[in-house]
Symmetry: C2
Subunit: 239 residues, 2 copies
Amino acid sequence: MPLYRQVSDALAERISCGGLVPGDRLPSEAELGAEFGVNRLTVRQAISELVRSGKLRVRQGVGTFVASAVPPIDIDVATLTVEAATARTTSAFSAHGWTVREQLLGRDEQDDPEARAQLDDPTGPLHRVRTLTVANGEPWILSSYWLPAELAGAVAEPSDGDVFAAVTHSNGLQLRYAWRSFSAAAATADDAQRLHVPVGSPLLIREGLNRDQDGRPVVYVHRRARADRARFVLRHEPD
Amino acid sequence: MPLYRQVSDALAERISCGGLVPGDRLPSEAELGAEFGVNRLTVRQAISELVRSGKLRVRQGVGTFVASAVPPIDIDVATLTVEAATARTTSAFSAHGWTVREQLLGRDEQDDPEARAQLDDPTGPLHRVRTLTVANGEPWILSSYWLPAELAGAVAEPSDGDVFAAVTHSNGLQLRYAWRSFSAAAATADDAQRLHVPVGSPLLIREGLNRDQDGRPVVYVHRRARADRARFVLRHEPD
DNA sequence: GAGTGGTCTAGACCACTAG
DNA sequence: TAGTGGTCTAGACCACTCT
């Protein structure tokens, strides 16, 4: 077994067995190298695995810390309308005493073949609206919404966590889900910067298509959630 | 911008712009180092990011290759009974012309606090059954099933991809889902070995609870799927 | 045997953070 | 200013795969 794996396992053992508790600072990389009798680069390789799996958190110039074991928030996906989904998500956060806010990052004409196909290939341009869902000052979910340009103008900085309240109200639309999908991917450099995770960390991806009350596809949504922060739950029975 | 990121971006560019197509072998790490004027370790750091994101695939002693862009299989999760879910999954694979098989890895008395709690804290021991779903000789999904010991005995090596056919038939059970959840995590060393991915790769995780026809919780399932191979889809409307 | 990737070392310099 | 993590180098040896 390679040295970095041995070091990684030893550190993971200390964390799981209570020798190191969330918030604790690890010895510096140089100290760990001396302790295990290995080079600093070998220590770094061990640490980087634990960082990607969410067990450690590194702060440049400060140190390496044991991550706090916050269980991920369960977000219910058994809802059909967008209003209900937003309400469920907000209540999932407030049940933990957390305030949640969806922050507008910007909008542009960035097209996307997948989005265009899902929206039945509309003739006009597509606009992409990007948002960041923040709870207690920490980033949780990075979202992109593709929608026809004429609707995107109504998107507003939300006061209550719902970016599309203005869109649905001002256009008399009632949006409901046609389908949702769940997948996973490694964080890109952009994801990493926005979500405060290292490049390559696992992200949970939820895509979906919303139709209006007449069955027309209106919004294609792509969300990228920190895997350590959020989990999607599908309940098939009443609680 | 650090050198390894520049190298990584340059290689990603060659892939996305068609300079390198799926199956192509990259120049060796030493050659890439000479080409970009950087150390071999810097090249390796660049490559490792692309491997975790699924763009490249490394074979020791052979070379580094552009990964084939196989779109992930859509697995429908809108079904309520286990039989229907198995049938849907099998048909999703056969629609691509792939044969799928669920291979029994073993069973043990490994307990799990989450599983035990979900199964309403049964008095007897819990057994864990582990399987690997293989399609066309490639690993796709690593599953663990926790169930009461008296039922685990009926688990058999499946001939038709359904590990639990014997359990349900011999006990007169009809299993249906109570809930399912979707999350993501980094591949552990064990995941990596079983699923043929590097440690730290993103995995898509689906957990769920099955009840029998009398509402008793019977099986707690935990699946870990290669993120580049599988996607779960929830359809809210008929096709 | 030749070539590939996998691991490891020693040493260096830089960027960032805190006191 | 001191200490931390972030990046990079040169060089070495090993394990693996193919011919």
